[in-house]
Amino acid sequence: MSILLRYIAYDILRNRMIIAYTLFLLLMSATMFSIESNPGKGLLNLLNIVLIVVPLVSIIFSTIHYYNSYEFIELLLAQPIPRKRLAFGQFLGWVCTFAGFFDWGGHPGFTDRVQQRGPQSGADGGVSNPHFCGFGHVGRGAHPR
């Protein structure tokens, strides 16, 4: 499982779309507090991102990634590893990289100004990431093949 996690994480880390997403998060969390005079409002704006953008990106990206690696997953299934371990390894690979990117991209927002509430918003994202990666993961079960 850890082997799969490592290789999948490596594949995702080099993906251009995901790097753009991280930079977007970084930019957002850095600017939200500088345009708003009231840090509470800035945090509210960040919360909107956590609620809308993060789930959307994790669903779309994990689905696209799954469809692109369909043939590779088939090849992995022909190897002597249990299916569950494969599915779980892949899921963890997504979740860990997404959570990592989210934390890194949202870093200024969590540490700046509203230090008491920052960690909470970070935790929100941390919870929503695996859930929505999971939705992408489950969505593939509905695929007829």
């Binding site: 290789y7 490596y10 594949d11 043939e71 090849l75 299934l77 022909a78 002597p80 299916r83």
Partner: protein
């Protein structure tokens, strides 16, 4: 080595496999032949446990393959029809991933003969997305042979390979076969199969039409060349299936 009993699989109304019973022995080169959509790949996927059959069972070394059994795959090397790999991985990493995944089940040296023959070492640092279709096919072939498995399952192995590489692959398959391994392959290029085949499994729309040795087929069709004999059978089959009473004709 591999036995299937009344293997059946339906995809909705489509019948991909219908009561297929065969017994595949060690040291044989079994060719799966049939028109497009006749269930060849489905049969292979059933063997690999990627498709769960609706009915019937498969035994590998007398052990039935169940829904969640995976141990038997230690002895199988699989080369898929379409080799697509994660875009950002390098060739070396794909090989490393596979060796890591199978290191528990495989002890002993890796079989890197084919890597040398294809000259793949030169492209080991290239990302997979930059490779041509043929080179990807070479990677798939090398991965199938890497762990010295007792059973080789090759789905259209020579499609997309240049003549030199195709010859190298065929020579390799032949060598492995002589070592007593079972090789199961599909291809539409009958000339490629000719030297490697000892038995033919002919599927049409999920039905196993016959499973015979090459000598038998040559005798039956009164031909000297394998490709011609199969072409003759296919032509006969075509005539039969174009008549409306097809199902009533005993074969």
């Amino acid at each position: 080595m591999i036995q299937t009993q009344n293997l059946s699989k339906h995809f909705g109304k489509l019948c991909a496999l219908n009561n297929v019973s065969v017994s595949l022995q060690k040291g044989k080169g079994v060719s799966l032949i049939g028109p497009n959509g006749s269930g060849k790949t489905t049969f292979i996927k059933c063997l690999l446990g990627m498709v769960i059959p609706d009915a019937g069972r498969i035994c590998f070394n007398d052990q039935p393959i169940l829904r969640d059994s995976w141990d038997y795959r230690k002895q199988i090397g699989y080369m898929p029809q379409i080799g697509r790999y994660p875009d950002n991985m390098r060739v070396r990493q794909v090989f490393d991933l596979m060796t890591d995944l199978r290191k528990d089940s495989h002890c002993g040296p890796l079989d890197e003969e084919l890597i040398e023959e294809f000259g793949l070492k030169n492209s080991f640092d290239k990302p997979m997305r930059t490779l041509s279709g043929g080179t990807r096919q070479k990677v798939s072939a090398c991965l199938a042979f890497l762990f010295d498995p007792a059973v080789l399952v090759l789905d259209e192995p020579t499609a997309g390979l240049d003549p030199l590489a195709a010859e190298a692959l065929k020579a390799k398959v032949l060598r492995e076969q002589q070592k007593g391994k079972l090789v199961l392959m599909t291809s539409h290029i009958l000339n490629d199969l000719e030297e490697l085949t000892t038995d033919v499994m002919y599927l049409v729309e999920g039905d196993l039409l016959f499973f015979e040795s090459v000598e038998n087929i040559l005798e039956r069709t009164e031909e000297t060349r394998f490709a011609k004999a199969i072409a003759k059978i296919m032509a006969q089959q075509g005539k039969i299936s174009s008549t409306p009473q097809r199902k009533t004709i005993a074969l």
